[in-house]
């Protein structure tokens, strides 16, 4: 068991370094120069001396290998450097934006779990009934609709409805206040994006729950329990659900890691000052340090989520645990 854990953990390292190398190379392949963009995007004159000074300031005039080593070494020391665009520490830039993204992600997960697991279970139990068809159709609709489209429609619907019902159009606040400062305002900002993201999340989870439950329900031990005369509800809760939930939890874990990708678009739609929006900005501004840090953050979340899931499986699989 310990050998397995150690092996798994060690495998994380080459993945992280690989991701670091990939983002480093990709960013530098993009034509363009952050100094030029910074000094010239308004359309005025760009002084070549100013550009050179900017390069020196940002360390862009050093050889590439030195820049890469600096980046890797800094990452291990948890020193992520300074954002090339704003000059502020990367950690500060990210920390300012993490709360809202995390809040949306967590809320979306809660929404997904609350909706998906019960619905998925019912759908499995009543396979091919009209309930099953309705639930499956709704789920697939959730996956098929572009999320930004959903978000825009949601805002418009709320605006129109509130205008019709209360005479004045209402829109969620566009500036963030932390939860403890003003819980109502904070939640009113987070609820629409959380629902938009959560719908898709719930759809995926519901489908997985349904298929996992279907598989479990055909297992012999369920048939035995039924033959023994156990109450159906007990069978579901005590036997079926527990076993079905394992792949579902796996999926939730992995999808959570993918959420950052989904947040990118959602945060644009709802004007949330979150990590996803920062991501797009960093890449468009060709802010190497910020992009590199953000990619490493995303990759790390993904990798550790996978690791946690693998370890969970290892723990539960007696062949690995005791072998």
């Amino acid at each position: 068991m310990y050998r397995y854990i150690v092996n798994r953990v060690l495998l994380v390292i080459p993945t992280l370094i690989g991701a670091a190398a990939l983002v480093f190379v990709l960013m530098r392949l993009i034509p363009g120069d952050i100094c030029v963009v910074r000094l010239g995007s308004g359309g005025g004159n760009i002084d070549p001396r100013a550009v050179a000074a900017c390069h020196a300031e940002l360390g862009l005039d050093r050889p590439l290998i030195l820049q890469f080593l600096d980046f890797i070494w800094g990452f291990f020391r948890l020193d992520f450097g300074i954002s090339m665009w704003s000059g502020k520490p990367v950690a500060e830039e990210i920390a300012a934006r993490l709360p809202i993204s995390l809040e949306i992600a967590v809320l979306a997960t809660v929404v997904a779990i609350l909706i998906a697991i019960p619905l998925g279970t019912i759908s499995a139990l009543k396979q091919n009934s009209w309930i099953d068809h309705v639930v499956r159709t709704t789920a697939i609709a959730g996956i098929a609709t572009p999320s930004f489209w959903l978000g825009i429609i949601a805002i418009l619907v709320v605006l129109d409805l509130s205008h019709a019902l209360f005479g004045a159009p209402w829109m969620p606040p566009i500036d963030y206040v932390p939860f403890w400062q003003d819980p109502l305002r904070n939640l009113s900002m987070a609820i629409l994006p959380a629902l938009t993201v959560g719908y898709r999340y719930a759809a995926v989870t519901m489908r997985m729950t349904r298929s996992a439950m279907l598989e479990v329900l055909r297992e012999d031990y369920i048939r035995t329990a039924r033959a023994k005369g156990l109450v159906e509800r007990l069978i579901i809760n005590r036997h079926a659900l527990k076993n079905a939930l394992l792949p579902v939890i796996t999926l939730i874990g992995i999808e959570f890691a993918f959420l950052i990708g989904g947040l990118v678009v959602t945060e644009q739609v709802f004007n949330l000052n979150g990590v996803g929006r920062l991501f797009v900005l960093a890449v468009q501004n060709q802010d190497y340090t910020l992009t590199q840090a953000l990619v490493m953050l995303t990759v790390a979340i993904f990798v550790f989520a996978n690791l946690a899931v693998d370890l969970l499986y290892a723990w539960l699989d007696p062949r690995i645990r005791f072998g």
């Binding site: 993009i30 034509p31 363009g32 120069d33 952050i34 030029v36 963009v37 910074r38 000094l39 010239g40 995007s41 308004g42 359309g43 005025g44 004159n45 760009i46 002084d47 070549p48 001396r49 100013a50 000074a53 900017c54 665009w85 704003s86 000059g87 502020k88 500060e92 830039e93 300012a96 934006r97 825009i152 805002i155 418009l156 605006l159 205008h163 004045a168 159009p169 209402w170 829109m171 606040p173 566009i174 500036d175 963030y176 644009q268 739609v269 709802f270 004007n271 000052n273 929006r277 920062l278 900005l281 468009q284 501004n285 060709q286």
Partner: protein, 536 residues
Amino acid sequence: MIRKSGLAAAALGAALCAATVASAMSSDSPKHGGTLTYMIPADAPPSLDGHRETTYATVHAAAPFYSVLIRANPDNPSSPTDFVCDLCTEMPTPTDDGKTYTFQIRQGVKFHDGSPLTAADVAASWQEIIHPRDGVSSARESYFIMVDKVEAPDATTVVFRLKFATSAFLPSLADPFAWIYKKEILDKDPHWFEKNIMGSGPFKFAGYEIGQSIKGVRNPDYYHQGQPYLDGFVGIFAAKQAVRVDAIRADRAAMEFRGLPPSARDELVKELGDKISVQTSDWNCGNLVTPNHLRKPFDDVRVRRALALAIDSWHGAPALAKIATVHTVGGIVFPGSPLAASKEELQQLAGFWPDIGKSREEARRLLKEANAEGLKFELMNRNVDQPYKYVGTWLIDEWSKIGLKVTQRVLPTGPFFDALRHGTFDVTVDFNCEGVVNPLMDIGKFLPHSVFAENYGGYDDQKEVNLYQAILHETDFARQRAMIREFEKYVLDTQAHMLMTPWWNRIVPYRSYVKGWKISPSHYVNQDLGNVWLDQ
């Protein structure tokens, strides 16, 4: 014949400029109090240093904290000639054959930390703008090539000595980015202002949340009596247009100061009726088309002229004006300026002929002559919706009418600039966006790269440069205007170095309770919010 008279020029300017200003504004008396919430249509600016940056995000965020020497009249900012004092006491008449300008600085002005502002601060700030030290970048150096020295002989006098007399100086001096910094801080650390704020303007700095919002509160010691009327302001960064429009609709914010497209205006007017007001103005910005002279067949003037002749601006502009932020057909000079071409003068130039049928026939003939019929090429464009991509789509359709097969290559800002600077394009959508209307400086964009760094056409043309130098040094208005017509014809028609597309149109819908703010041709100008008040 237009006489060189300030009054006539101002009147003509105001009339030509399609500004619709709410007339009620000037007659109400301002109320004190309230906080103005507005949106800044950008993600956070790279820095808050007005000397260094050229983006409106910096101005919209930090202009309320600072003072400038002179500025466009906040009550009449659409006039290209009405400049008034901010920190000075009165507008000086130039002496020494127009080469020396002496400004008297107000007494009793204080920075927000209580220290007094003197001529030394003004001179030091201007020195950084005009002749920055090593390691300090000033985005505006090239606008002040005519300035030899700026000095502060005593605590209340600032003197600018020019190398030659030119009418381009005052408009340059009214640059809305030319904030007056504290000399003490500049001496210690000129980079301090990138992340910090210390000004003497109508509002004091009250907080900046990265990527989110910037806040200011009223400066009780402001030297313009009675101002500012507002208690404070909140500027919220919101890059996506739909968000801004919805926010105005739901009154999460009162307005934004850049400009929204016609569809947004229509939506807001439809939803809010008279709770919304709209101000419109020609914008001192325009898209141009720059063929790459270093790539065949665009080195052939006949092909370039054909490109120009194919475009039907007279019919295209009104249609585009319904969906994009463009409006007025004009030449190289801002349409509201006395130096701009009249419609009759324009119609002599390629691309402005009144009969589009004849124009396109001529275009086809030129293409045939140059052996470039059915030419296929790529139009490079910037990844911005309004109006870049709309103009691009329109141009492609126009060129298809003379048999050209054009595809569009859209790049984000960084790679776009890179491709421009390295000349890796066939034809590109270009832009010329200036601040205060200053035609003599603004037309510099058309000069070859050897003279003007921001020209990407890849050509050289000494005749053009000579024409321009003559214009710059000419002091007689009528003669200057005639020379500009000559320059315009040479650039747009004879050589077709670059092509014009309709000038941008600034549409600012805002909640009707906001008063005092007046639109101008530049979204950089008149942003210190000192004269804005809320009728609530």
